[in-house]
Amino acid sequence: MINIGGIPYYILEFGDELVYFTPYTLTLFLLALTFTVLVIISRPEKQVDIAFGGDAYRTKEISLSEMRFRRFMAIACGLASMGAMVTGDIFNFALFTAMVGITNVGIVAAVKSPHVQNAAYQYGLVALAATIPLFAGAAVYAAAIGSLSMIELMKGTLPAVPLIAKAMLVIGVIGEGMAPFYAAKAEMFRAPGAPYVIMCSLSSLLIFLRVVEIVMLG
């Protein structure tokens, strides 16, 4: 047994679905759950612009419908991250990761501001491009080792996973998570709506941490 994330506490095998909790994935799952609950109960903030060289400041008005949509997207993002944390199936992980990518773009794209829309579109293109290596990586996993189950991978009896499959999976997660691109661009942080934007960062961090475990399994 290869136990990167510790010995599984609980394994649920139901039809095609495979869910397991190790100390590692349970921690990540609880983190995603906590932040989703925080998003549900927290109240959005209004962004304040301060005029340089004076005391003047103004708050930006954000419509309720926009905030509702962003809250929905942030909750969906939290649910997708939770799914990606506990799933024991590589293809399901790819699907949840793609969903994280879509909801990340959705959180930002709801803002009615040209530069934010433009940035969201560019990141959407990156996320769309990243689904190709993501799903291709999962498919090469299935082709090379004949299984998509992480529990089977843990047993260590399967043939070695080709490096290209791991590389494609990681590249896919990098593109979907947006994190490296995200930090480099200020447009998204300038988008108003404080508690929801944090789900972008958190979900990317979580799927990165999870893909490290998956890559080290086989």
């Binding site: 699907l95 969903m99 879509i102 579109y121 491009a129 689904t131 090469v140």
Partner: protein, 201 residues
């Protein structure tokens, strides 16, 4: 088998590299989106190369995710560029609007789709309805169609639960799933044919 798989993988990779190279040269936002969709379809080839039942089961979610992202990005593009909805009322081609040909073609497609059944049959039958709706420019109450789609989807899901919990009744579940997905895809595709971007609530 592995040899063929490797060659196929190589062809897909070469196609993806060409498309990504074109993408790096492209400056227009809309063209970038179209090129990415092109790469996406080629990329599905990697899954298809598995050549097993599993590949068929995996392509569908892969394709769905791709289409979902494509739709989301097109919506962002429309908002970004300030493009407004222009209601279109069918094709204004006199021959199509008056002749019997669309009716015959759609009837043929619907009957053939029902014989095929399942997802493929739904797509074929839906295509038939799309042709009819496009050519005739109907103004129907779409809420009923949406409800039918929802109910048939529920039938499909119910059939899956029968597969999981009562495997001995697999034949009933198979028929339920086949009919459910047939109706759902047919209705969804005919909605695609009628909802020409008009605001509808």
């Amino acid at each position: 088998m592995w040899g063929q798989y490797s060659y196929g993988l190589f062809v897909v990779m070469a196609a993806a590299v060409i498309a990504f190279f074109a993408l790096s040269k492209e400056r227009d936002d809309l063209h970038k989106l179209l090129l990415l969709d092109l790469v996406e379809i080629v990329g599905l080839g990697v899954i298809a190369l598995l050549g097993t039942d599993l590949a068929e089961a995996l392509i569908l979610p892969g394709l769905t995710v791709g289409i979902a992202e494509l739709l989301a990005l097109s919506q962002i593009y429309c908002t970004k560029e300030g493009i407004r909805d222009i209601p279109v009322r069918g094709l204004n081609i006199e021959v199509i609007a008056k002749a019997d040909a669309p009716l015959i073609i759609s009837l043929f497609l619907v009957v053939y789709g029902m014989i095929l059944s399942g997802f493929t049959g739904g797509a074929v039958a839906g295509l038939g309805l799309v042709i009819l709706f496009i050519s005739r420019s109907y103004r129907e109450d779409l809420n009923l169609l949406e409800m039918a789609s929802g109910i048939s989807w529920a039938l499909w899901i119910f059939a899956f639960f029968v597969f999981m919990f009562l495997p001995q009744y697999w034949f009933v579940a198979l028929m339920g799933a086949a009919i459910g997905i047939l109706l759902k895809v047919t209705v969804k595709m005919s909605l695609v044919g009628t909802m020409w971007g008009e605001q509808h609530d």
